[in-house]
């Protein structure tokens, strides 16, 4: 764990192939933000086809090229394959290249070592390898748009046999996933070791900021859930490249041709089990770091300790454990009998309890506060009701009987987007605004921040709220044109509204983009602890130098010692003894 001195290093070692956790964190965050924007752009184009089926795509239609678009006498329209490719890549990019790398790779890397008072991660070179594996995975995914047949188009879930018989893009998808999974595994091992081994003196587990707990549990989820998908990905690669039939049953007839060349005997359901064994814990990988960020921002801006800190921690650990026992609720419609469905319904109901406890703790934390409505706080506060909507709408999907009607409809899309977009993404924005001064020594602009927040808050609800009604009407997800069916045509008006909200939402991100780059160079310069916060990262200079702390910090108290009676200041940093 020897550290080179940052200032002695050439540019490419300091900023490109860096082993410093802060540089790697920023690399992760910036790359992930770019991918989030790309993922959003893909869906914005898809939403044009959904709102105005078959109408020529204005302006950019020509640029997209075949097979994504097809020529009409008057212009270009999205093709069925193009739509499916954009859909599959939207999901893949948003989850594996956007949200997780930002939440874990970005915030985890930058904040966690600082918050535990460590000079860096336990394995800095592994950390660098993790980022470059992620970056390579991203490049492979992007390249797949340009191979014959276009990018993967079997959904982000890649169910075989469809994915087994899909074009080359699917092979690229699988290679990309193997790289991304490798990146996550390297990162998670590093986070666990760093948290366990490198905490500052006096920083016991129950003095850890909640954000660190959230990252620690998240790392265990990544470490234990990703290997089955990696194995499944390799099996699917074998099916596609080596003529095996892990996921292909005997007797397939595709386009009227009997597939005699296949050995058969495989099971399409095996993939679904392996996939969801990862993908459900993955949901909590998306949520937990967000909850961690929200807890930090709420404690700081209510100016009081979090309510139920220990309940938060125990709930998070329990949530992490339970997340491994609910996967088959994504598969209720595969023909599940009473025993299995009862088990998975019961575990799904059980997992809602710690989620309710966490949300309750965060809301009760507002009681008796002195709330500062800073930009990060606005995002953190908006997270709470929207995450609640996401959680509540999981109930009808977690019970088999109500799931019959709602499974695979827009109701599901509304549900998980409320959790991940108005939920997690809002928390991530809160995090960007909150820790930006630590990373750059400058604050982001408040006015632009509010100009980002309010339209985003309005339009994101305009995007996802109508989806519950569209889904309830019976409109299925992944439909290129819902007006093909009577029940879809009946709610087409809502679909048009969703599309317009989505386009307004993407415009609403421009104040953020401008603010982000402008503030790096021109933002208001601030001192090391501009939010008057208590956790250790704020006792390091902004931006922290290589090695972070001039002297190793010694922790004297819990993470959220705000508004202690009789004190002059309303906060007491963790490395300052309470009685001092």
């Amino acid at each position: 764990m020897s550290h080179d001195h940052g200032h002695d290093l050439p540019f490419w070692r300091k900023y490109i192939f860096s082993v410093d956790h802060k540089v790697i964190g920023i690399q992760y965050a910036v790359t992930a933000l770019l991918f989030l924007f790309l993922g959003f752009s893909l869906i914005s184009i898809m939403r044009y086809q959904l709102a105005y089926p078959g109408r020529d795509i204005p302006v950019i239609g020509k640029l997209l090229g075949e097979p994504i678009v097809g020529k009409t006498p008057t212009g270009y329209v999205l093709t069925g394959d193009g739509y499916n490719a954009f859909g599959a890549m939207h999901g893949t990019i948003m989850i594996f290249l956007g949200v997780v790398p930002l939440a874990v790779g970005g915030f985890g890397n930058f904040v966690l070592p600082l918050q535990i008072g460590a000079p860096d991660m336990a394995f800095p070179r592994l950390n660098m390898a993790s980022y470059w594996a992620y970056f390579s995975g991203g490049v492979v995914m992007l390249t797949s748009f340009f191979v014959p047949g276009g990018a993967a188009n079997s959904g982000w879930t890649s169910y075989p046999p469809l994915s087994d018989i899909a074009t080359t893009g699917q092979t690229m998808w699988l290679f990309g996933m193997v790289l991304l999974i490798t990146s996550s595994l390297l990162g998670s091992v590093n986070f666990i070791v760093t948290t366990v081994q490198m905490r500052a003196k006096g920083l016991s587990f129950f003095r850890l900021p909640f954000f660190v707990w959230a990252q620690l549990v998240t790392s265990f989820l990544l470490l234990l859930a990703f290997p089955p998908l990696e194995a499944a990905g390799v099996l699917q690669l074998m099916d596609r490249l080596a003529g095996t039939s892990f996921f292909l049953p005997s007797g397939l007839v595709v386009s009227g041709q009997v597939q005699n060349q296949l050995s058969g005997g495989g099971s399409p359901l095996l993939w679904q089990h392996l996939f969801w064994f990862l993908a459900h814990p993955e949901v909590y990988v998306l949520i937990l770091p967000a909850l961690g960020i929200v807890a930090e921002v709420i404690a700081n801006n209510t100016r009081k300790p979090l309510w139920g800190y220990k309940s938060l921690v125990y709930s998070t650990i329990f949530l992490g454990f339970m997340s491994f026992l609910v996967w088959a609720h994504h598969m209720f419609m595969t023909g599940m009998g009473q025993t299995l469905s009862t088990f998975f319904q019961a575990t799904t109901m059980i997992i809602s309890v710690p989620s309710v406890i966490i949300l309750t703790c965060l809301v009760i934390s507002l009681w008796g506060a002195s709330i500062r409505f800073t930009v990060p706080m606005l995002f953190a506060l908006a997270f709470l009701p929207m995450f609640a909507i996401g959680g509540l709408t999981g109930l009808p999907l977690g019970l088999t009987t109500s799931d019959i009607q709602l499974h695979d409809t827009y109701y599901v899309i509304g549900h998980f987007h409320y959790v991940v977009a108005p939920g997690t993404l809002f928390a991530l924005f809160a995090g960007v605004y909150y820790w930006f001064p630590k990373a750059t020594g400058r604050k982001m602009n408040d006015f632009l921040g509010k100009l980002h927040f309010w339209p985003s808050f309005i339009f994101i609800n305009g995007v996802f709220m109508p989806m519950f009604f569209i889904g309830m009407a019976g409109v299925l997800r992944r439909q290129f044109d819902q007006t093909e069916q009577l029940h879809g045509a009946a709610v087409q008006g809502l679909t048009v509204m969703v599309s317009w909200s989505a386009w307004m939402l993407i415009i609403s991100q421009f104040p953020f983009i401008i603010n982000f780059f402008w503030s790096i160079f021109r933002g208001e310069k601030v001192e090391a602890n501009p939010w008057q916060a208590t956790t250790l990262e704020w006792s390091a200079p902004s931006p922290p130098p290589h090695g972070n702390f001039a002297t190793p910090p010694v922790v004297a108290c819990g993470p959220y010692e705000y508004s202690i009676p009789g004190k002059e200041k309303d906060f007491c940093p963790q490395n300052v003894a309470l009685e001092a």
Partner: protein, 333 residues
């Protein structure tokens, strides 16, 4: 103003319901949404109160002492208990009926449904009640399920593409499979959904409400709209219930014709009708009942739907007999 009937209407909530078990599904969905609304509103009031009451202002100091009280605990236990009630009292019994106890063999109408990219193949055993043998080697455009003509049981079998006929008031037992990729057998108006997985035959059963015949539904959903109230969502799926002609007697919109597949066509046609002095239109929905695919199955996934036609049991028998090939007897047999 959407086409409506005593079975419900198409719009931004659940579509019409014409199956027996569907009432349980809808009841649970309704209860759940009232429960969710109650929780969200109660919780939202507390949230907004806190934001206003505890906003930073002169004299508002944060309290280091955390609030005590058991209300949150009671609320959490209450939510957990209610979830148990929903699971044990509602979801499990309905699921048992729908998934675990199939209707008795001699009381049910059995149909095989074989999904493929991008069509629904429906196989009826015919009046003899026996499905003929099928094999991949016999598959052709005219014989998509590969029915073996040499099998005597196949002689009266009926195979349909993208059309499914069902009797009302009878237990229907569908033996579902797929030839190629994973599809999903979904009938929104019957609250039925079951994945069709290649290599597996999975049964799904349901019963259409008595009286919910296509004829009845068509009649109930036929409505007369003032021409100014005809919205674009009706262009594609609604057909004229009678002929509309201009003053010279030339038919502009014939009975059974639709208003056009696109917004532009529809608007043009409406304008012509208006100029011809038509003030109201009598329309009925085309394909009020549909079987759709709920699992992404390729580039034309969205087009994979079949029309469902429901008959009284007597009409259904009659229809089946008409469709069945006459049984040919030969000396070998």
């Amino acid at each position: 103003m959407l086409a409506a009937s005593s079975f419900g209407h198409y719009g931004a909530w659940l579509p019409p319901l014409i199956s027996v078990h569907g009432a349980e599904v809808d009841r649970l969905i309704d209860i759940l949404h009232w429960f969710m609304l109650l929780l969200f509103v109660g919780w939202g009031i507390f949230f907004v109160y806190c934001l206003v009451r505890f906003r930073r202002r002169a004299g508002q100091k944060a309290s280091y002492v955390l609030p005590k009280g058991k209300i949150s605990k009671y609320a959490e236990v209450g939510v957990a208990l209610f979830e148990v009630v929903l699971l044990v009292g509602f979801s499990m019994p309905a699921w048992a009926e729908y998934r675990t106890h199939p209707p008795a063999k001699d009381h049910r109408v059995e149909i095989r449904v074989i999904a493929q990219q991008f069509q629904w193949n429906v196989h009826y055993p015919g009046p003899d009640g026996k499905f003929g043998r099928t094999a991949a080697e016999f598959i052709s455009d005219a014989n998509p399920i590969g029915l073996d003509d040499s099998d005597p049981a196949a002689a009266d079998d009926v195979q349909l593409v993208n059309e499914m006929h069902l009797p009302t008031g009878k237990d229907i037992y569908v033996r579902l499979t797929s030839m190629d990729v994973v599809h999903s057998f979904s009938i929104p108006t019957m609250r039925v959904k079951q994945d069709a997985i290649p290599g597996m035959e999975i049964p799904v059963w349901f019963k259409v409400l008595e009286g919910a015949t296509t004829e009845n539904l068509d009649e109930q959903m036929t409505r007369t709209y003032p021409i100014g109230r005809v919205a674009w969502d009706r262009f594609r799926h609604h057909v004229a219930a009678k002929d509309y002609a201009d003053r010279s007697g030339q038919v502009i919109l014939a009975r059974g014709g639709d208003l056009g597949a696109t917004f532009r066509d529809g608007k043009k046609l409406l304008e012509r009708l208006r100029q011809a002095g038509v003030t109201e239109l009598t329309l009925r929905p085309r394909n009020a009942l549909e079987l759709v695919c709920a699992q992404l199955c390729g580039n034309s996934h969205y087009k994979m739907h079949a029309q469902i036609i429901t008959h009284t049991p007597q009409d259904y028998e009659k229809w089946l007999k008409e469709q069945s090939k006459p049984v040919e007897f030969n000396e070998d047999f």
